[in-house]
Symmetry: C2
Subunit: 144 residues, 2 copies
């Protein structure tokens, strides 16, 4: 598979995994840790492609009784499986009007995160835990 | 907290989290995914400092019944807690003679990974799941 910094576009491979080097983790106001970028990032830029660990519906029932309930994603075409995402995917905080969005790639067991508007340097990056950046459906906790 | 690329050494903060930009994830022979570096890295270099999600002994009993059993780390001074590590920490494969080692920082809820010898470009990075790079105690699966 291709790695970052390939010389030619022809070497780009959809299975490549990466975290944009401008991303960093820091404390987020009242929200614990969050993900930030130390440079401006244009809209519609893929900033992270990270692996996930896929589990069954039965495993999900067990995981849901632990703190990881707050971190796992529903997974699979019928959303019955779940996954634990690695990289920084599990560190992004939620916003009902987020500046990033995630895409689940079931075939390759990865989650991609992309910006949905221009990002300023040192701005916190948010995803909407409902999927689409502007989905206002209430999530399972009160947003600070 | 300091972010990567601070202008002054005085800004360095032990709480900084980072993944060396030379690291990438690719397929590892027979072992699924693994972590690699696309440049040489000197011995004794910290290549990753990533957050962990800490859970109790009771939660660990539930997690141990799932695939995440293979990923969690024992945690805490008495090893009774467990944690799920983010970043790439959960992607490193095991070797009984590994080229990297991990350090658990209970106070800051992070795991640091450092090289224990010089690494060549595109060499796979391994940790020893027992902790020390040369600990030969048998782990819970047969190493391929």
């Amino acid at each position: 598979m291709a790695k970052l910094g390939s010389e030619s576009d022809f070497e780009i491979d959809i299975f490549v995994m990466m975290i944009d080097p401008s991303l960093y983790i820091d404390e987020s106001n009242e929200k614990g840790r969050g993900v930030f970028a130390n440079t401006p990032i244009p809209s519609n830029t893929i900033i992270e492609i990270s692996p996930v660990i896929v589990m069954s519906a039965d495993e999900r029932k067990l995981i849901d009784q632990t703190l990881l309930h707050d971190y796992i994603f529903e997974w699979g075409p019928d959303s019955k499986q779940c996954c634990m995402a690695l990289g920084y995917v599990s560190v992004y905080n939620h916003s009902y009007s987020s500046n990033c969005e995630y895409e689940m790639d079931f075939a390759n067991a990865v989650i991609r995160v992309k910006t949905v508007r221009n990002i300023e340097a040192d701005e916190e990056l948010f995803i909407n835990y409902n999927g689409d950046w502007n989905d206002s459906k209430k999530i399972w906790f009160d947003v600070k």
